[in-house]
């Protein structure tokens, strides 16, 4: 039952580009107390290193309590921290948040810049280097920062360069987004500091409300953009396995909990354009967007001026899904589930013969009962579209035999009978539906969780992502 109720609420992120040029209600960065900003960055750096991956510990709770505006500023300062790690003598800094066309120039006072350089020494694990010694960095660290520096230095020694803070930072931000789940805030004006995102919460196919989201995912993505795999001389996250695992696991988590974020997978594909798992999840994301829950919410939502949805109507979303499934099949033709969902989308696009072909491939390749159920159900729909009514009926019957309590095959059989003019048959086919026990709401029909089941391996993916870091912590 919990699983079903949880799936009633859908949250998805929206493109927060400043499309109306309206003045920001957020004060300029220079107006924000620099001391407090750097204190937060310092706390964040400690949290990055000392947080236990996968746990809701004090560090995750602390950073998770920051407002969306504070996290927006963190995105800027963490970005600049990485820039200083890589270019310690730099004095001028620019940032450009995802989804925004403008670059923001960032300046620090001399005192702030010194502190940033000290923190960069810590983050890069190079407190003992000549440049950091000249800064007297080691004398300005408390116990926690010394621990952070030691952990970062250990990562350096293990051959991972200065990636420590990038990887751990992305893990922390993901854990905050997934486990702490900071609540949405009232929407501020567009054009604020750092990336801006709002979410639409839906229930029963209706948009319930919108809110400003703290951009923890954006901080995580930004950090991983700077990862340099072993022996690389420049940022190259596309050749880093941990970055790949991070995107696979987090994108799967978003789909399993129906907290969709288009930009997350858009960015993942920029880094991993031919990764079959990321292409598969991109396709399923748009397949979900084409579904009734999201489409209904889209129609009922009143968008705040200056923002725009990054979800379109059903057919364009299906076409996007079709394109990604095609690429996923080309990248890896083995998984039956890719063929299965590709077939469903083709059927919804009325390409019934192509759909039947893909579904037949899927059915030939899987013995999994639930996957076979979906395959037979979708094959029934494709054969109905081809007007092969006997084949459609047979497919629906096989689906029904796989899950006798499921109502969808019986409703499909009823509709097929009614389509053929058989009123009595239509009523007869509904009898098993009517006879089903209504006190078994989470039982019967796998169709009810079709739009999340593609991410059923999310726990394994997250475990695989966190395991090396948990071992490192121990």
């Amino acid at each position: 039952m919990d699983r079903f109720v949880r799936s009633l609420v859908v949250v998805f992120a929206l493109v927060g580009a400043a499309v109306d040029g309206r003045a920001s209600q957020t004060p300029p960065l220079q107006m924000i107390d620099g001391g407090a900003r750097l204190a937060r960055l310092e706390h964040w750096l400690k949290a990055v290193a000392l947080h236990d991956p996968g746990a809701v510990d004090d560090w995750a709770t602390l950073v998770g309590s920051w407002t969306s505006e504070q996290v927006g500023v963190l995105w800027i300062d963490a970005n600049l921290l990485v820039q200083i790690m890589r270019n310690p003598s730099g004095v001028g800094f620019n940032v450009r948040p995802e989804g925004q066309s403008r670059t923001q120039a960032i300046r620090y006072t001399t005192v702030q810049l010194h502190r940033m350089r000290v923190l960069a020494c810590v983050a890069a694990g190079v407190v003992g280097d000549v440049r950091c010694m000249q800064l007297k960095a080691a004398t300005e660290l408390d116990d926690d920062l010394r621990r952070v520096a030691a952990l970062a230095r250990a990562a350096q020694s293990a051959g991972d360069g200065d990636n420590f803070v990038l990887r751990r930072g992305a893990l922390l931000q993901a854990d905050i987004a997934m486990l702490v789940s900071p609540p949405a805030e009232p929407i501020r004006g567009t054009g604020g500091l750092g990336p801006q995102r709002i979410s639409v919460q839906t229930s029963d196919g209706l948009a319930l409300g919108m809110g400003q989201m703290a951009t923890h995912w954006e901080v995580g993505r930004m950090l991983l953009d700077h990862v340099r795999p072993r022996a690389a001389t420049r940022d190259d996250p596309g050749h880093d396995d941990m970055v790949r695992r991070w995107y696979r696991a987090t994108a799967a988590w978003m789909q399993s909990t129906e907290k969709h974020d288009t930009i997350h997978l858009d960015h993942a594909r920029e880094i991993f354009p031919a990764d079959p798992d990321i292409l598969f999840l991109s396709a399923t994301q748009h397949e979900v967007y084409a579904g009734a829950s999201i489409q209904g919410a889209l129609r009922s939502a009143q968008m705040t001026t200056g923002w725009k949805f990054d979800v379109t109507s059903e057919k364009p979303e299906l076409r996007l899904a079709e394109g990604f499934f095609r690429r996923a099949v080309a990248a890896n033709p083995d998984p039956p589930e890719t063929h299965l969902r590709y077939g469903r989308v083709l059927s919804l696009l009325e390409r019934y013969a192509d759909a039947a072909r893909e579904l037949t491939i899927a059915l030939a390749g899987t013995a999994d009962r639930e996957q076979r159920y979906y395959g037979e159900l979708f094959l029934g729909a494709a054969e109905t579209g081809r007007r092969n009514f006997d084949a459609a009926r047979d497919a629906y019957r096989r689906a029904s035999e796989l899950f006798p309590e499921a109502q969808s095959p019986h409703i499909a059989l009823s509709e097929l009978a009614r389509r053929l003019g058989d009123r009595g048959g239509a009523l007869r086919e509904l009898q098993p539906v009517f006879a089903a026990a209504p006190d078994n709401p989470d039982g019967g029909d796998p169709w009810w969780h079709y739009f999340t089941v593609q991410a059923r391996n999310v726990d394994d993916l997250l475990d695989e992502l966190r395991r090396p870091f948990k071992a490192e912590s121990q």
Binding site: F4, V5, S7, L8, S203, D204, G205, L206, A292, S293, G296, A297, R299, S300, L377, F389, Q407, S408, I411, A412, S414, E415, R418, R419, L420, G421, R423, A426, L427, L430, V433, F434, A436, P438, P441, G444, D445, W447, W448
Partner: protein, 281 residues
Amino acid sequence: MKPLLAIALVFSCVAPARSQAPTFSTRIEAVRVDALVTDHGKPVLGLTAADFEVVDNGVPQTVDLVSYDQIPLNVVLALDMSESVAGDRLDHLRTGGAALLAALKKEDQAALITFSHIVTLAARLSTDVAGVKRALDAAVGIGSTALTDGAYAGLVVGESDVGRALLIVFSDGLDTVSWLTPEMVFETAKRSDVVVYGVSVGKGKPDFLRELTSLTGGRLFEVDKTANLSAIFLEALQEFRQRYLLSYTPRGVAKDGWHRLEVRVKRRGTVKARPGYLAGS
């Protein structure tokens, strides 16, 4: 069976046998159309067959039968029992349903379908109105909304017995989990004689119910709150009782496909009826 079985809609006849020719049976289906005639918003009563003109795909037809308020009703309630229907809303729904059931005549039949993500026939079509009310009292909101599947089930149950079928669909949300697409249910509605009245509560845009009620010649009530559900249900029932049932056997038109209908009265008045029907597969 119902007293007016004489208007049974399907006629069977056997083609005369010819030498060496195969024999087969064919069926000529009478078409029936529920029509509401109003003049300045008020129902026009007392009309006869001679007052109506029915045009099927551009071909005028001879109306065989007109009846009014004589044929027992099959009233099917298809009610959204998803999680959002709770508290006052559920109380209002029960009160509204009870008011409608109390207004039925003793020969009328009623049925109750509830839908969350599960579609349930809570009470079969019968004259046991008290049983339907008991089922309504026992229903609780849980889960999400299979509005499309629920409406489809309502159509099938509505046409499962002779009599004039009124399907009242209530929902406070939009579909999230149905197997059937809206287009599939529209196709079924085009093949059905059931008239659908819809009640949509809340800020959602009830595109599905709007189209479904339009295709069946019914009506959609869009309301912000459920406090007046009793009045709405009774208004739907009253309006349905004031409709004429026209019946004709199509002549001069192709059997299969979409038949566009025009129903007019020869005197002053506005006619509301389904815009057509679908025959064949």
